[in-house]
Symmetry: C2
Subunit: 226 residues, 2 copies
């Protein structure tokens, strides 16, 4: 469903240049749930952003299906992201002026579509935020904001879900419920999930774990099926 071939991403130039990705190769099969772990600063967010077309590789190729992201124009890239990709940002990136509900359905609204009320209710109930939908992000706790960001990535049932540390602000019960929702997306709807996490218990819910260090994949583990 997605892959990176010899991905290099360099920020800056000259002496202070940072090689955030250093010849990274990774493949993410359709309908699989992959976790990505690694030290802070090892390139995990950079990998996710390049895979989702939010950032451009310096060299190498990022592909979604048979499409090389570097070949797409702005318009095509925007449509691909809106319709086929859901992204949970490490810093949430919620719109401050919109309510939680408006934030969640924003990708649908931008596409001129309406949410399925039953799916919206089911999703927000499962994530424990159904009672907070009328509030703006500043009126929500950190963990509630994180779950709103997750709901936004799931509401369109996109082919590809990229989640950047989606449980970092959650207690173990809320984290388990969120991971259950992600597991259902994969098991019941054959969506593809790539999740960055620092939490081994979250990684244990995936089908396999890729370990990054210094902008490269250094190890891969298959998870025994639960």
């Amino acid at each position: 469903a997605a892959r990176v071939i010899d991905g290099v991403k360099v920020y800056g130039t000259g002496g202070t240049a940072v090689r955030a990705l250093d010849g990274l190769c990774a493949e993410f099969a359709a309908g699989a749930f992959t976790a990505i772990m690694g030290p802070s600063g090892s390139g995990k967010s950079t990998l996710l952003h390049c895979l989702a077309g939010l950032d451009q590789l310096t060299s190498g190729r990022a592909m979604i299906g048979d499409v090389c992201l570097g070949d797409l124009g702005d318009r095509a890239m925007t449509l691909l992201r809106r319709d086929r990709i859901g992204f949970v940002f490490q810093a949430f990136n919620l719109v401050p002026a919109l309510t939680a509900r408006e934030n969640i359905v924003l990708p649908l609204t931008l596409g001129g579509r309406r949410p399925d009320p039953a799916w919206l209710a089911e999703l927000t109930e499962a994530l424990g935020i159904a009672g907070r939908l009328g509030h703006r992000p500043a009126e929500l706790s950190g963990g509630q904001q994180q779950r709103v960001a997750t709901a936004r990535a799931l509401i369109t049932r996109p082919d590809l879900i990229f989640a950047d540390e989606p449980t970092g602000n959650l207690d173990s019960k809320a984290a388990a419920e969120l991971l259950t929702q992600i597991r259902r997306a994969v098991d019941d709807y054959r969506q593809t999930v790539v999740m960055v996490t620092h939490d081994p218990r979250a990684a244990a819910r995936a089908d396999r774990v890729l370990f990054l260090a210094d902008g490269r994949v250094v190890r891969e583990l298959r998870c025994p099926s639960a």
Copy 2:
């Protein structure tokens, strides 16, 4: 060093009012390291903000030493926060236009003071961010931003350190190093630390753990000394 007596915090009014703190009592002795755990939305950030004078209780008293925070004017509160309190925010609250170094020394700069170069070097080395000091927050990874926010709270060696989930974006090695720095502040310099966390391994480094639920303390555990 700090305490809350019958703390009540209500957001909003009428039917949608939220009782974020519901008659909370807690005491934080000088020179002790207290962890606070509890479900997402249980009032942990609200408690920290009220203790640090960043928010006002609806009723009850928040005290630092013998001073009731509700009695202080804006000027006195600002000086207290700048000189005696360090706060690591759940969302970091870094200044986007300033470099990491400028963000870290901002509380000193605002007080017309300069950093001790040896202490700044030691702190940033220990937190693993010494090589990123010239970069602005947007050029840092999530975990690097979190460590810059932590360094800012520690640089003034304040009497009171409030840390709101300071390891949520860190791998286990970086988290352990950050907790070691916090432990040193308590053991070597008799600073007082109140740390909200969802991570049991972080809580295990504290002297005691308070458990919140629905805006109240429901349980307290003393940690066996390591």
